[in-house]
């Protein structure tokens, strides 16, 4: 299999009044063709920052993004100028946002909004663009595309809007789709419909997908591999089955244990004490960033920052418990 997205040492800095903070520090991961990579963690751990930085959606006066390299389909895009980046944003790599209402323009008709990337990137005439838009609306499960294409976002329900957003994101047949909590705002039955549909479309186009979510249920059912993030770092990366069978990091274990499960008859849930540290606190601290909340923390954890250890093929974990293992190349 070939890698469609390779990221090495991605960092983001945000300019806040008084000082610069770095909410993500050194993220590296790969996405293969046709693969779904889950990006999980609690809020404030840098999941959304990662995808926003990848899409370069931080304005230059808000922050700065740097990386050793970001290879999209073999091409390093980290050094691209803004003009060059505009050519691939929405074409080779596109994004789905959480809130479908705010990601659509309320004053434009749905059909035009879906066709717009095609008009911009390929210079397709509007008539052809609209035909393509109808086709995609049908592909995302909308029964009467002509009517929907002629309506405005406020005429549609949340689930329909999110279908439109998905259609818009894939109209240029991107190599990589970044989905930031695409179904969080929706009901479970609609969520199931949409995720099944995204899976089908992904298979047809052999697209790589990064699915940001906080729901481990979604990860278990739809992702091939998982990256667990905590406080701006990757703490564990593994194939989904390996992650659920043998979670290596105490944070991953905690996350899995604290979700209530339908099949489970536990009286009280396990929980991780405390909460995610604010960026300003964790970026300067020494030692493991999870040490404060970790049930198995040792003095070493508080003093030294753990590297990623290689537990198995494709399974890495940032925890001193595994220091007998080799250090993974970061």
């Amino acid at each position: 299999m070939s890698k469609v997205l390779e990221i090495k040492n991605l960092k983001a800095e945000l300019f806040t009044p008084g000082k610069t903070i770095s909410p993500i520090s050194g993220i590296s991961f790969d996405v293969e063709k046709g693969e779904t990579l889950g990006l999980v963690g609690e809020s404030g751990c840098g999941k959304s920052m990662t995808v926003l930085s990848l899409m370069r959606l931080l304005s230059p006066d808000m922050g700065r993004v740097s990386a050793d390299f970001v290879r999209l389909d073999g091409q390093d895009i980290s050094q691209f100028t803004e003009a060059q980046f505009c050519k691939i944003r929405g074409k080779k790599m596109s994004m789905i946002f959480q809130e479908p209402m705010t990601s659509l323009n309320p004053s434009l008709k749905i059909g035009y909004q879906i066709a717009e990337p095609l008009l911009c990137h390929d210079g397709t005439p509007i008539r052809e663009g609209m035909v393509k838009a109808y086709e995609l609306l049908r592909a995302v499960g909308i029964a009467d595309p002509e009517r929907v294409a002629n309506s405005y976002p406020h005429n549609l329900s949340g689930g329909m809007r999110q279908r439109v957003v998905i259609a818009m994101a894939i109209i240029c047949k991107p190599k990589v789709l970044l989905a930031d909590e695409p179904t969080t705002a929706l009901d479970v039955t609609i969520q199931a419909q949409l995720l099944e549909m995204m899976k089908t479309l992904q298979r047809e186009e052999d697209m790589g997908m990064v699915l940001v979510t906080h729901d481990l249920g979604i990860v278990a059912e739809y992702c091939d591999r998982v990256v667990v993030m905590y406080c701006g770092q990757i703490v564990e990366e593994a194939a989904t089955t390996a992650l659920f069978a043998l979670p290596g990091h105490p944070y991953t274990k905690g996350l899995i244990a604290c979700i209530p499960k339908i099949s489970d008859e536990k009286e009280f849930l396990d929980h991780i004490p405390g909460h995610v540290l604010p960026v300003a606190q964790y970026e300067s601290s020494t030692g493991c960033r999870f040490a404060q909340r970790c049930p198995a923390a040792t003095p070493q954890c508080r003093a030294q920052t753990p590297p990623l250890f290689q537990l198995d093929v494709g399974h890495t974990c940032r925890c001193w418990q595994h220091q007998g293992n080799a250090i993974a190349h970061e």
Partner: protein, 325 residues
């Protein structure tokens, strides 16, 4: 037989929206709902957004008046027109909101936040007693008495939700309605708050209605499950029945749609087609029939009534006409 705390009989809540200049369109957000709330039980109220869960909750709390139907609290009809009786009842029925950032006044110290309702209802004679109770409540909810002197912005979402719970417990409530109270929280914090609810329910023998769209959460906390669809209760069952033998096709689909955080378990998924109908053009007959995989002729014509299927399970579906267990 446990005491019935509250009976809700044939409640309707009708809203009307303007359609153009002269036309008005009215629809039932709550459509003929009857329930008995038993002392000491936890009820889970589930359904998709817009199905009338929150409207039903605010009708129970008398925050909105039902269009028709009766609400009996401890066997007595609640009369919304006598302020003294209403005030006494309000004290017994408490609500915990979804958003812990919007439900606490940012300009008030936590001590005032927790003590205000106790003062309003004149539960303690002196300020000293009231303060002492506030300290106890904070400790019960996993906070410290020193936190009373701080301001809301110093606390995280989970901590604020604990404060909201402490505030409510000061009233010694008979019924607590938690409206999506953990939806805004991260899973690890959600687990903490759910454990707190469970502990409190045990310690104080609380009666609770837990509203959520998260069936995993509902399963964990409730004894009985109420499933709503387009304003009607379509299934009402004990937890074991609702999750292991759901009868209504909608309940079956809803439970199968929940992502299961266990990649090794086999899944049977029922994917519903279509979306929730709008209240403005509710289908005739069973409101679920356009999405129902097992729709029959009668479903298009007649709305099924909620019937007893067996002890502990009621269902409103024509599939079970004539069935008894």
């Amino acid at each position: 037989m446990a005491e019935i705390l509250m009976s809700i009989e044939h409640i309707y809540k009708t809203f009307s929206v303007k359609q153009g200049a002269f036309q008005k369109l009215s629809f039932h957000a709550v459509n003929d709902v009857s329930l008995h709330i038993t002392q000491g039980k936890v009820y889970g109220l589930v359904g998709e957004s817009g199905c009338g869960k929150s409207t039903l909750a605010s009708t129970i709390l008398q925050l909105t008046q039902p269009t028709s139907g009766r609400i009996l609290y401890r066997g007595m009809e609640v009369d919304a027109h006598t302020p003294a009786a209403m005030k006494a009842m309000r004290k017994d029925l408490q609500l915990i909101f979804q958003d812990p950032f919007a439900s606490i006044d940012p300009k008030m110290k936590i001590r005032d936040v927790v003590m205000e309702p106790m003062r309003t209802h004149k539960i303690y004679k002196t300020r000293q007693e009231c303060y002492q109770r506030a300290c106890e409540l904070m400790e019960i909810c996993g906070m410290s008495a020193a936190d009373l002197e701080r301001y809301p912005h110093e606390f995280s979402g989970g901590q604020r939700q604990r404060i909201s719970i402490a505030r409510v417990l000061g009233m010694d409530p008979k019924l607590i309605i938690a409206d999506e109270s953990t939806a805004a929280l991260d899973v690890s914090v959600q687990a903490q708050i759910l454990n707190l609810f469970k502990q409190l329910q045990k310690d104080f023998d609380l009666t609770m209605i837990f509203i959520s769209h998260d069936l995993n959460v509902i399963k964990h906390i409730s004894d009985r499950i109420i499933v709503m669809y387009m304003g009607s209760v379509i299934e009402l069952a004990d937890k074991e029945y609702a999750y292991h033998e759901p009868k209504h096709p909608y309940t079956q689909a809803l439970i199968s749609a929940v992502p299961n955080p266990d990649p090794f378990q086999e899944k049977k998924r029922i994917i519903l087609s279509g979306e929730l109908p709008r209240f403005s053009n509710l289908p005739t007959g069973c409101p679920f029939h356009p999405r129902c995989p097992q729709c029959m002729d009668i479903c298009r014509r007649e709305k099924p009534a909620l019937r007893n299927l067996r002890k502990g399970q009621k269902v409103a579906c024509h599939l079970y006409d004539g069935h008894t267990y």
